[in-house]
Symmetry: C2
Subunit: 149 residues, 2 copies
């Protein structure tokens, strides 16, 4: 029988592309990132609040540097499309995130847009706090930017 | 007669609390950060696009870490208040930013909220690109967070 912690470790090894051992603090944050707000307490909501901004900064820096002649309006349109819940949700569904989440409401569907988008944001919040901005950038390049530009 | 570049250097030395010499690349970015969109080309708009997100991440990380028991709703309200154009504009006016700006439209008032807020964002975009996230954090602590929490 696979424990929930083993599922979290399996997912995070794949997501981070890093098979090294995690500290207890790292695992606690990853578990929270994969916990829906219906499970109890507030789940991944605080981490999603942080990760939303981490992703916004990474995406905007990427667009700013890659498109030196685009005006603010064009850059804003591009970033809004990439940062949308719809887009984040598609990426989370591709990563099969929901299958690794703790969810309190059994009626919540595995393709729920908000739950998937918030989990992706929360994962980036947790990665930023545990591994730093450079790792968050590398993963954003891989999962978000290369698929959208 | 003080040249415009000397004014930019004077402002940036004070803003960064750093009297060291700037590279040409740094000075170019600082000049753009202090250029209103009415002056020609698009002025500081692209840097404001970036700096807006840099500040959002710094503010959210600060709120997340300092308030471990606040829910997402409370954190979001706090960050929205700090990130508002009104607040950024007040901070820019306190720093007398407008006096160091190149502005094309002579009717633009020195207390214009959008012009001041965007200049502050653009300055943080330029600081992030030239000095890195840690310096941007230190300056945000000084000018934005300590005045608002």
């Amino acid at each position: 029988m696979v424990t929930y912690m083993e599922k979290v470790i399996e997912f995070m090894h794949r997501f981070l592309e890093d098979e090294s051992e995690f500290t207890d603090e790292e695992l606690d944050l990853y578990k929270i990132a994969l916990t829906h707000s219906t499970y109890g307490s507030q789940g991944n909501q605080r981490l999603a609040f942080l990760g939303d901004a981490v992703l916004k900064q990474i995406i905007r820096e990427h667009l700013y540097l890659k498109n030196p002649y685009d005006c603010k309006g064009i850059l804003t349109m591009a970033s809004s499309r990439i940062e949308s819940n719809n887009n984040y949700s598609k990426i989370a569904i591709n990563l099969n995130v929901f299958n690794y989440m703790r969810v309190g409401n059994p009626a919540l569907k595995s393709h729920n847009i908000t739950a998937n988008a918030e989990a992706l944001e929360a994962l980036f919040g947790a990665v930023y706090l545990t591994k730093g901005l450079q790792t968050a950038k590398r993963l954003a390049e891989k999962y978000i930017l290369n698929n959208n530009l």
